[in-house]
Structures are given as C-alpha cells and as structure tokens.
Symmetry: C2
Subunit: 226 residues, 2 copies
DNA sequence: TAGATTGTTAATCGATTAACAATC
DNA sequence: TAGATTGTTAATCGATTAACAATC
C-alpha cells in the first residue's frame, strides 16, 4: 500500500543480507534458522534481526525459530523481489555489463532489457544478450518497452542529463552509480544513489588508522583529534 | 595515529561526496564553497556538513566559507587518499574489470596491480593492462608485490575461501563485493562488505510503496502495517 | 516440565537538527 | 557596520541494545 508504517532504510538494507544468508543455509539442507544463528553469521545483534524481520510480517515460532522457506518468501515479497521489473541501463561500460548479470542474480525479478550509450562503436552491439541502443532514442524505446527503472552507469558528468532523459521518458525510479548525487526534485521520483567511493572512504580510513604511516611522525600528528 | 577520536562511519561515507562535489564546483571555476552550497547540492543538512568537515581538521572562514583546494586536500589526506595503495583483485569478471578503472578514478592512489581467477581461460590474459594470475599462486605474487588490499569479486560461494587465502598471503584489508558477509575473526583484519543487493532492496521497496500493485487488492493488503 | 526461542517494552546510545555566539 | 558564514552547544530524534514476559 502507498503508505504503511515508515520502515527504516537501515532495516531495508539489512533484509537482503538475511535473505542471502537464509539461501546459503538452505543450500546446506537446513529448513529452519533462528535470530541467534543469523546474528552469529552476519555480525548483527539478534534483537536487531528480530525487529527487522518483524516489519516483513514474518512470525516465527518460539523454541523453533523461522522456517527458512517462509521467511525468504516474506522478505522477497516485502522488498518487491517477487515481481518482475524491467530496467534500462545507460552507460554500457564494464560496470553496466557487470550489473546486467548481477541484478537478476540477486533478485529473480529485475532484468535489464536494453542498454544505451552515445558512443557509435557501442551502439548496435549486443552485450550479454542485451542490445545497445543510441541514447538519443531512449524515449522511443521506453514507449515500446515500458521499463520501470533506469540505471545510470555513465561518467559522473553525464549523470544529471541522463537522469533528466530517463524521467522525460516516463521512468520514475533511478539507480545511480556515479559519484554525482542525484537529488529528486519532483515528488514521485525515486532515486537510489549508490556511490562505491563511500565504501572506499571507510575502508581506506580504517586502513590508515591501523597503520597510519610508513615513515615520519609529522604528518601523523595532523590526524590526532585533540 | 592508531586511535584518535572515533569517527562515525556515516561521516566517513559522506566525506567522499563532499570531495566529489567540490571537484565538480572547481570544474566550474569556483574557488570557494560553503556548507550551505554543499547542502543544497547534496541534499544534506548544512550543520551535518559542518560537523563532518570538522573531523578532517578543515577550518573555514566566517563570511567566506571554505577554499575548495584546501578542503579537498584535507579530505583526501584524512581518508588516506593521498597515499598509494596497491590492491589484488580476485574474480576477474565484469565487476572486477569495472573496478580496475573505477578505484583509480575515484582516488588517485588506489590501483589494482594483479587480477586472480581460477578459470584456465582467464589465467594469463591481460585485462585493462593488468595481468590475470592463477589464484593458486596468490601467496607467491603477494610476496613479490606486497599489496595492502584484497578485493573480492568472486561468486558469493567463493568469498570465504578467497578471504582466507588473501589473509594467509598477508593482506590485512578486504573489500568484499559478494552478498556473503565476511565477519572479521581476528583483530587487525579490516573488512568492508559492499553488497549491491542492499541498495536494490531499498530501491524496490520504495518503488513498491509508490505503486504497490498493477492488479488486485488482495496482495496489497498484506503490506498494510497495522 | 524445562529450556530455548520469539516478540515487545524500556533503556541506552548515537546521529541529526536547532539555536546561537563568534567572526570576518 | 551589517550580514553571512563558521563552529559549537543543547535539544531532538531515531536506532540499537537490554530486559523480560509469552510460548511451544
């Protein structure tokens, strides 16, 4: 429904992790799992896991835990991963190719149905079975294929104009992989900015903290906080 | 230094966004920016931005704002992006190829110096100028090249064993792109799990909320929270 | 039954936002 | 100067964790 209780974005980010862990446990032949087991395997507090699972409507059984099949189905339905979703992807480079296979792998429903690029050498090619069209023809193909999601893997400079084109073509949901942050201007536009640079920042900061410098003390001083 | 004041991970995730926005503004010929301008362009509260920037040691000037060059240098140094960092990448597929160029683009210092795979058809090839070695020879090459970061882009099933191999080869920092969550067991191992499926979960949930169903009301009922 | 597990309420903790003094 | 901006302290808000009753 358009609006039930608001769900924390952090909860939404964890739900797929539970789903994958359950899929993994199922692969070992397990039929049931518990918040405690998931907590151990994922490094997340067990109470947190119970609260997160609760939003999907899953009801477990005391002393038993959760039936993996039921819980997986509930998470998938809650996230909308039980429905098919056609996507356009603009920027047919390596990341685009990687995503073409990835989205479907993660979530049986999402599939990229057309790639777009402005490079003459790419237009007309077929990558992983998906045709590459001229980005100038985006609206035409949107009318034809009615995609509900637009994925942006162009260079950062082209992110804004690409988003505008996708929106103009009637697409209301955008998954942006460039470091340029897209801020939804009009209501009803859904944007997910996934910037890999954010993860790299966390990683390198932690590395620096663990082994700050190979030589010299002067520079390290500047990292002292007080 | 090993431990200054702890810095929030959320702050660390935002700092690269500020850096990129400043780079963009600089591209327009701007020399200064302000928390208010960054806030407008990134959709983040201006007080938040001031607090985040403060951890890097940046000091702005009242009535002026921040000198872009100074602020960028401070963020880069704080994140460790002013230092070179050699990485091994295991799993030489599309995502691996995409990252080979991406990391360096984002952060002048990070570079992938060797790719590894277990597929005979890939071993011996050169992708984007980087050689692909047999993953069985990981330790040998680690001894030779002394990488400080290991990137995992294998299938999820191989994530754990790949991590173990990287750690055994002396690598202390792991960037894991599979949906399998790696939990650092021993102290001193730094792990960043970047699961694209988490972003997809947020996105599809929001899409579902905006337009829950194309047909029927029965299923939508189950999404009502109360 | 006893004990393991769920689900929920209360307490804690941390992150965000508001208010405001300092300053150029 | 007046006003725009910074930086910080206090207030609010939300997320996580702890405690515990319910239950199979």
């Amino acid at each position: 429904m358009p609006n039930g209780k608001p769900v924390s974005e952090l909860t939404l980010r964890r739900l797929p992790l539970y789903l994958f862990e359950m899929r993994r446990l199922k692969g070992f032949g397990n039929d049931v799992t518990s918040a405690a087991e998931l907590a151990r395997n994922l490094g997340i507090h067990h109470t947190q896991i119970r609260k997160d699972l609760a939003v999907t409507g899953i009801v477990g059984r005391a002393k038993v835990g959760h039936i993996i099949d039921e819980a997986m189905a509930a998470i998938e339905r809650f996230l909308g991963w039980d429905r098919t979703l056609d996507a356009f992807l603009v920027g047919a480079g390596n990341l685009g190719s990687a995503l073409a296979g990835y989205a479907e792998l993660v979530n049986g429903g999402t599939q990229i149905v057309a790639l777009f690029d402005d490079h003459p050498q790419k237009i007309g090619r077929v990558i992983h079975g998906i045709p590459v069209f001229d980005v100038a023809d985006l609206s035409y193909h949107a009318l034809r294929l009615q995609p509900s999601l637009g994925i942006i893997t162009t260079p950062a400079k082209a992110a804004k104009i690409t988003c505008d084109r996708l929106v103009e073509a009637g697409i209301r949901a955008i998954w942006n992989f460039t470091p340029y942050q897209i801020i939804p201007e009009k209501d009803g536009l859904i944007v997910e900015n996934t910037c890999l640079c954010s993860s790299l920042g966390v990683l390198t900061w932690n590395m620096n903290r663990a082994a700050p410098l190979t030589g010299g003390l002067m520079e390290s001083k500047s990292l002292i906080q007080e």
